[in-house]
Symmetry: C2
Subunit: 321 residues, 2 copies
């Protein structure tokens, strides 16, 4: 069984590929919920939604978020009523937020609600939040301390980031699925998807117990770099790296994950970084990482899964014992 850690769009692309090459029981996708927030009285989980919509094949590939063929009557009416419209909520997407919120209020856990929504969307593979508790990403910026969506959507990631931390770390526990996967003798590898390391993966690593479990791991951890030729394929990862004093590159990603991962998958465009990455005590795996379509997602997923077996045959055998 493989555990994938993922954030939104980039992570969902690889997760979709993994779902093509692994059977449902062979994969658990643990998703960042540091971006979750309450808006208009609704509990919104942007990364869980992107993951669900992508695996269900109903995601909007052009826009990069939300549901394909979405309509916007609600948003137009809300604007007429003077409501808050900076966070765009499509009519179909809204059903997810309302159903999730109603079920959470009825006492169900975020894990249980996610499982229910996945079942309704005919998603065979397992998607779980990193935690059922509130652990919120806070972005300290030139414009002050901002809640994640305030920084990311309302202010379009424009303020310079000085520091990132997380509210609620003390109380947060891993979700049952993530906890079980990390402790499972069936676990063969952990794959860190090409999501923003600072904003999407760091929150997962911050959930108490996750970093320790990975540190004591007996299975390989492989990350896929979200940076190609010094640029983020999506989102503000490169910009944030610069603001935090790092040169945006896959080498900086390797340094960010140093001590935590056994291999970093980088794009062919970054092949020249292999030696420097190897020098950090991990394998550099060079392949095509840009995922334009389902075929490239599946292909990258297969490369990553195959490299687990080729690079770490002992680990795989040990975990299978």
């Amino acid at each position: 069984m493989i555990l994938a850690l993922a954030g939104g769009v980039g992570g969902a692309k690889l997760a979709k590929g993994l779902s093509e090459v692994l059977a449902p029981e062979e994969l658990l996708i643990a998703v960042n919920t540091g971006d979750d927030f309450e808006h208009l009285g609704l509990h919104i989980s942007p990364d869980l939604d992107t993951m669900m919509y992508t695996l269900a094949g109903i995601n909007d590939p052009v826009q990069g978020w939300g549901i394909a063929g979405e309509t916007w009557s609600f948003m137009q009416a809300l604007e007429t009523l003077g409501g808050e419209t900076w966070f765009r909520l499509g009519d179909r997407d809204l059903a997810t937020h309302i159903e999730r919120t109603a079920r959470l209020r009825a006492g169900h856990s975020l894990s249980a609600v996610t499982q229910h929504l996945c079942t309704q969307l005919n998603i065979a593979h397992r998607i779980a939040p990193m935690s059922d508790d509130s652990l919120r990403t806070i972005v300290h910026t030139s414009s002050g301390r901002l809640a994640f969506q305030d920084y990311f959507v309302r202010r379009r990631a424009e303020p310079a980031v000085t520091r990132i931390d997380f509210d609620g770390v003390g109380q947060a526990r891993m979700s049952a699925a993530l906890h079980a996967a990390l402790g499972s003798t069936m676990l063969a590898a952990v794959i860190i998807c090409p999501s923003n390391p600072y904003l999407s993966i760091a929150p997962i690593l911050t959930v108490p117990g996750v970093r320790d479990a990975l540190g004591q791991r007996r299975v390989p951890v492989i990350a896929v770099s979200p940076i190609v030729a010094g640029r983020a394929l999506k989102g503000p990862a490169a910009k944030i790296m610069r603001e935090l004093g790092a040169e945006p590159s896959s080498l900086a990603v390797a340094e960010f994950y140093r001590g935590l991962i056994d291999a970093l998958v980088v794009d062919e465009a970054d092949a020249e970084l292999s030696a420097a990455i190897d020098a950090l005590g991990m394998h550099a795996i060079v392949t095509r990482t840009v995922m334009h379509d389902l075929q490239s997602r599946t292909s990258l997923a297969r490369t990553v899964v195959d490299s687990v077996q080729s690079l770490f045959p002992l680990a795989t055998r040990r975990s299978a014992r």
Copy 2:
């Protein structure tokens, strides 16, 4: 100034007519909120919504409720997710419920929220809930004790009604606008719109203080019968009358309001009931009460307003002093 008491569709039609013949400062429309309910985590006020949409001219005249040109993407998506779909919520309509709920949660009163929504919808005349507190209509039926929408929408008003009462009467207070209107020296008349007496007007009369204020009134109270030739123009009023042991007719409406009103406006089809209605100690005013279009609404509103002045010249003069 005229105070109109109203429920949903039928009441909104006359209120729309009144808004055509009276200036904004000459009219307050106090609306039934006994039908309000929490659904999918949203505070829904069906009668306030119908009133707002009708006065704003955006109501759906064919369907009889909701917004014209509505779209249904949310409802379809909610059905896919296995959510509750028995109460139909259009995409545009949803904006009203979400904005209202968010503002109520932020601590605003239902009166303040209603005023805000009316301003955003460019409604010049004043619409106020009967109360900012929870006073809920409960329908006792052959299928047990049912919350209003459970009876009315989910079960399509099919179970036989044995009794109607109201939850929360002890705590409920009149809204400030209704209280001020009933106590105002500027009040010239109270008009009870052609809404269901049992389900739409009775809740308003049940708000502590309303019945007393009307009993001590120095101004005429005129009701418009929602029954024409033994049939309700809309909804289950005639059916409920029968179930409660009354022959559905404008005479039964007169009996229901006996002691409370000075005149009952009935349709030409019920002219033969005039003498029996007069015998109950009120004036029967015979005119066309069926409102198919804006002209008929305006015409009926003018007849009602004119009858205040012709039938009760002293009252009008006294209140104007």
